[in-house]
Symmetry: C2
Subunit: 415 residues, 2 copies
């Protein structure tokens, strides 16, 4: 793979048989648009529409598990055929959450409006909203925006669509890959947003994935499951679970290239999708509301539950995050987080290495080159390896730092 601009992290291997399409563009069968309808006071794009023109389109979707789900998440789960979606309508600037019966009616009107504008049945459309909680949607603006977006649907509308779903994101996040399989080339495109409230179970995160490969709905669902577990389930900006998380994967089949289960083609397709979603997850962590640095914690040990718990504790720790922000080689913050995740196990023989420099063995400091460590923790990406007793289990987690910009953004979010 050459001339990549998306796979920027040393932690994500670019898929070997994929070519990144520099200018973007959707897979065959898809059209998208993103317009400004007036929800955002800034006048930026805030309504996105994405449709598949192929009647045989298959799909899969995942949502937040919050007890306080937004109206569009409740509606999409109840009223959309999630294995046969052909359209998604998304607004930014307002989450339509904690809005009661009126919110559910508004989400239904968005679904109806998008279906009508695109000539789809209502249950083929999923709805997503992101932004402020507890404020009713301005439905006149959305109705006007829907008409305008429907008129602008284009095969290369993915960049406008990616713009329209942004909230506090510092930049739009999208990628288009062409992937050579044994029966021909298929395209995979992804648009995502997310910079805050990113938690153990992927949060205020909207991700849309399209391909023109022919995929059974079950296969699409399985591919999405595996990729989400390895990407958006493994990032933390601030440990917060959103009301609104939505991930939708749609396969138009318009390339005519079938991806059969348990073949080399499926493996290659899965690798490309995995790399794209992991890099996107890392971009979300990096864009974590003003983040300066991004961390990766790898935890190994014998107890899979403990390994996951420790990875969460380190990635979510505000003390680890502020030290990362400050470029402070204070590994005491790391062992503190490990210990907190393993109550009652002291003395725990934990090993810690930062950027390959071992600082702690069997729970105690080991002599190390502190100048090299100080230089290492000032890089853009900092890797922490943690060894717990035993072998056989391993996980990783990406996390943003915690700095002044996070405080500034979130202290004045609605004011």
């Amino acid at each position: 793979m050459t001339a990549t601009s998306f796979f920027t992290s040393r932690w994500i291997e670019a898929p070997p048989n994929a070519v990144e399409v520099a200018g973007g563009g959707l897979p065959r069968g898809f059209r998208a648009a993103g317009v400004a309808c007036g929800i955002k006071e800034s006048g930026a794009r805030d309504l996105g529409l994405l449709v598949s023109d192929a009647t045989e389109t298959t799909s899969a979707a995942r949502f937040s598990r919050s007890g306080a789900l937004s109206a569009p998440v409740l509606l999409s789960q109840e009223r959309s055929r999630l294995h046969a979606l052909r359209g998604v309508v998304v607004n930014s600037g307002n989450a339509n959450a904690a809005t009661g019966a009126r919110g559910l009616e508004d989400a239904a009107r968005m679904q109806e409006g998008a279906a009508g504008a695109c000539g789809l049945s209502e249950d083929a459309v999923a709805v997503a909203s992101t932004g402020v909680i507890g404020v009713p949607l301005p439905m006149d603006a959305i109705t006007r925006g829907l008409a305008s977006a429907a008129g602008e649907l284009r095969p290369d509308g993915d960049l406008d669509f990616a713009e329209a779903i942004r909230t506090t994101d510092a930049y739009a996040k999208h990628v288009t890959l062409d992937l050579a399989l044994s029966d021909g080339t298929v395209r995979l495109s992804v648009q995502g947003k997310g910079a805050g409230m990113i938690s153990p179970h992927f949060a205020t995160l909207l991700v849309f994935v399209q391909t023109d490969a022919v995929l059974d709905a079950d296969e699409a669902d399985l591919l999405l499951s595996v990729c989400v577990k390895r990407s958006f389930d493994r990032i933390s900006v601030d440990g917060q679970l959103s009301t609104s998380d939505t991930i939708a994967f749609m396969a138009s089949g318009a390339s005519g290239v079938r991806v059969e289960p348990e073949t080399d083609d499926e493996r290659a397709f899965g690798e490309a999708m995995d790399a794209a979603l992991r890099q996107l997850a890392l971009l979300v962590a990096r864009d974590g509301e003003g983040a300066r640095r991004v961390g990766r914690v790898i935890v190994r040990g014998g107890d899979p539950a403990a390994v996951e718990r420790v990875a969460h504790a380190v990635g979510d720790s505000p003390l680890v995050k502020t030290a990362l922000y400050g470029g402070d080689p204070n590994w005491g913050r790391v062992i503190q987080a490990v210990g907190a995740a393993m109550p009652g196990t002291a003395p725990l023989p934990v090993d810690i290495a930062i950027e390959g420099i071992q600082v702690c063995a069997h729970g105690a400091r080991v002599p190390h080159d502190s100048e090299a460590l100080t230089a290492a923790v000032q890089r853009d990406e900092v890797e922490y390896e943690i060894g717990l007793p035993g072998e056989g289990a391993e996980t990783e987690r990406f996390f943003s730092d915690l700095g002044h910009e996070y405080v500034t953004i979130n202290a004045e979010y609605t004011t």
Copy 2:
């Protein structure tokens, strides 16, 4: 109770039959000192010593449950008679944590040194250390400091002792109360430190409580249990559990006034101790590494586990904390935290009131006076009431905000 300076919060009722002693002072039988031995580069006091001269002293203690316990916590749990402590030695500026075998030897030398200097058996002394993790203790400084502190032990040494145990605390935290019981007056004094890494299970928190009442060791233990559950177990600065938390309660019996179990006297003593520890816990949250405001969340509902989970989620949420810091009336942050703690329950009919102003009923926004709400969240103390379905369970939690000072302090802790 008149002329109080300690019970400053509207949330803590001052104990009715207690008088605050403005200048401090220990209960009969106790002496304390706090000296500068050179651990802190600033030259501030960093070694504290507290002893009871009464041979019949009873005691009780509680420690962090972290898997990465500091050497003094491990040593005190293994080698001290926790129901019959007569001395504590504490240093600040260095936690003696993640220091391996050398750390355990150093903690043992601190215990020996303090016992020798005060004429106590080693197992009557508990050791505590707080400060940076992973750096060996400067034992020469500590040895010199011990000799100096032993020479300065005084009945009114509690203020110097409270100074000597500070780390990032903005101010020393202590109180002395005289309490009229049916057989005479007893004194209760408390010294505490804690401003960061304060978590669900009381964290980098050192608290020392003394009385001259006559208490059985079992009774002391029970009183401490109840009070800790209602105070230090219910505060959050940043959700982090420390390597070093220690709480020690000692009763010298030197007043000759016995507090019998299940009497009005025990109730009065317990109320005073409860109020003192809850106010101290609130001071720790207020001093939460640069905190501007402190929040109290009260959660009611039918499921005790859910009630606790929601209180933790709200109190630990960086989004709720940054909104509190900013004086931002963004109650969407609160419902987001509630929902995250109750996965799979949507739509959850949650009620939310802030400073008595109801903003959300049955999961949806209710019209409210937003100007009054904006004014209310800019006060020093902000109260959040959350109603979950059902009745019978209730808890509270105090938490600090998350502001620029927290980031600044923790980004550059070791540099």
